[in-house]
């Protein structure tokens, strides 16, 4: 497995898009949070911007920013990392050169797993550094009070990239695949949930969609809309962390299985 990931690394590390995507993630993750320093104050009932930078609330704020970056940059990279292999016909050459289809499968998922792990470690690092620098009195219990978010952050990252890989594998063409990835997450799924599902059946089940579950792994902080929604609909706007984890695991496993069976059967 390590051998396969190392081969993928050889493909990635000199690729311009990979470097740009990594740079954006590395700079923007702490950068966007620190922009909060320039905000005068947050909308009520929160008020002061201090919560953005102190333990334990920083876990959620930094995580929420990370979720957007993972969706946008890492998911995007995941899509094109596979479509470019189809465009250059390098995937079939990898097989001609001696990889089995299982090797291809393990290399792709192993490497997005490794990338998710690195992204998560960097997230933890950013939280710890910014948190320690801004919290006046640091209690270890406070620092890790919200640390259960860490595995969820990893799952969020891995699931966006799995979804990206699946679309890349099925669609094969870069532009269409990237478009589909973005449109599905930003427009199509919300439209189905809010326009169709809620219209037909206003029930909590409208939240159990694959990408919504991934989003809810790191729920949006400061949402007055969320409270309004509860009063109106009678159920929460978000899945609970556990619901989000289980739903995501089910969908992500299904996506992995789809890629696996497609890869096993397809003529390349």
């Amino acid at each position: 497995m390590l051998h396969l990931i190392r081969t993928e690394w050889l493909k990635w590390n000199k690729q311009l898009i990979f470097r740009i995507v990594s740079l954006f993630y590395i700079v923007l993750l702490p950068g966007l949070l620190l922009l909060g320093k320039r905000l005068p104050e947050l909308p009520p009932p929160i008020g002061t911007t201090e919560v953005l930078f102190i333990f334990p609330t920083i876990w959620n704020y930094q995580g929420y920013i990370g979720a957007w970056l993972c969706f946008f940059f890492l998911g995007f990279f995941s899509v094109i990392s596979i479509t470019m292999e189809f465009n250059n016909r390098t995937l079939r050459q990898n097989i001609i050169n001696g990889w089995s289809r299982q090797d291809v499968f393990l290399a792709k998922f192993g490497s997005i797993g490794a990338l998710s792990l690195l992204a998560t470690l960097y997230y933890v690092l950013c939280v710890l550094i910014i948190g320690y620098a801004n919290t006046d009195v640091v209690y270890l219990s406070k620092v890790f009070q919200e640390a259960s978010i860490i595995p969820r952050y990893f799952l969020m990252c891995f699931s966006y990239m799995t979804f990206g890989l699946m679309i890349g594998f099925l669609v094969k063409r870069t532009v269409i695949a990237v478009f589909l990835y973005l449109i599905y997450i930003m427009i199509l799924e919300p439209a189905i949930r809010w326009g169709v599902h809620r219209h037909l059946w206003e029930h909590k089940s409208m939240h159990f969609y694959p990408m919504n579950a991934v989003e809810d792994l790191i729920p949006a902080p400061l949402s007055p809309i969320a409270e309004e929604f509860v009063e109106q609909a009678g159920f929460s706007l978000f899945l609970s962390p556990n619901e989000a984890v289980i739903t995501t695991l089910v969908y992500t496993s299904a996506f992995i299985f789809i890629v696996y069976s497609h890869l096993k059967r397809a003529d390349l």
Partner: protein, 295 residues
């Protein structure tokens, strides 16, 4: 046996691309797969290289003794040279070596073999078509495999490129490696290969040593002013097997040798003055057209 296919078939919908193909390729041969474009050569290679699933039939490499993944012991180039455009030649070959699990690949030697060592650090996308094709050959040579597979290796190259690639393949063949080469260019197969399989519309029409496929009939081109008189003279020649009318006169197929001087003398004695007389070897091209037309 290097490769053995048993009733290998591939259908795409209603189209049968490869039909019940039985090929046996022995160690040390330079095996040409000859057929017009779209005859199923690439599909066949795609199947034995694991990228296309056969509809039916089977194949085995090295009599099934090639380990868990015998493709690692082959060097293959299918259709176009496929590399990562943003990586240099050396980095691309490193990836190939990783996949083949070769710890210390002789990258410089492979590049030197195809005259690309001086462009080792250039990105693949800056290469000309001929250089890309040569890099593909270098890539196939990584790990010094005993079997090399080339699919239309001279496609799209200029005459100099074609000559270079053929020379490289000939060099490789002289080291005793088994080479499987698909081509629609007869001349290429005739010049390089020891064995040939002729394929059309997915069917195997003929297979065997190039010498056996080219039968040993002797061909003589004969021309005269009076074609009727010439024909009358030729038809009574004892070793004649067949006569074919052409623009210059007739093409004689003889069962046994007849020196052109004798033929000329006999014709003159019979009152026919020849205006054209030339002995020629029957080419694979003629044989190929004959075989494909019969089917």
């Amino acid at each position: 046996m290097i490769l053995d296919t048993q009733h290998l078939s591939k259908r795409f919908g209603s189209l049968t691309a490869v039909n019940q193909l039985n090929l046996q390729i022995e160690k040390g041969t330079v095996f040409g797969m000859l057929g017009p474009n779209g005859s199923g050569k690439t599909t066949t290679l795609g199947m034995v290289l694991g990228i296309i699933h056969p509809t039916s039939g089977s194949y085995s490499w090295f009599d099934g003794k090639g380990g868990e993944n015998p493709r690692r012991q082959l060097g293959a180039l299918l259709e176009t040279p496929n590399f990562y455009p943003y990586l240099s030649a050396a980095d691309n070959l490193k990836i190939v070596a990783q996949i083949k699990r070769i710890a210390k690949p002789a990258i410089d030697e492979s590049l030197d073999l195809v005259n690309l060592l001086h462009r080792k650090h250039s990105k693949f996308k800056t290469y000309s078509l001929g250089m890309k094709q040569r890099l593909a050959i270098a890539s196939a040579m990584i790990g010094d495999p005993q079997v090399l597979i080339f699919d239309e290796p001279t496609n799209g190259l200029d005459p100099q490129g074609i000559a270079e690639v053929r020379e490289t393949i000939r060099q490789i063949a002289s080291t005793g490696k088994t080479i499987i080469m698909a081509s629609h260019i007869l001349d290429e197969v005739e010049k390089i290969c020891s064995h040939v399989a002729i394929i059309k519309n997915g069917n195997l029409l003929a297979t065997g040593p190039v010498g056996a496929i080219i039968n040993d009939e002797i061909l003589i081109e004969v021309g005269a002013q009076d074609k009727v008189q010439l024909k009358a003279f030729l038809t009574q020649l004892p070793p004649l097997s067949r006569l074919e009318e052409t623009d210059f006169g007739f093409l004689l197929y003889l069962k046994e040798a007849l020196p052109t001087a004798d033929l000329n003398g006999q014709a003159f004695a019979a009152g026919v003055t020849l205006t054209h007389l030339r002995q020629r070897q029957k080419s694979l091209e003629a044989e190929f057209l004959e075989i494909t037309n019969q089917n």
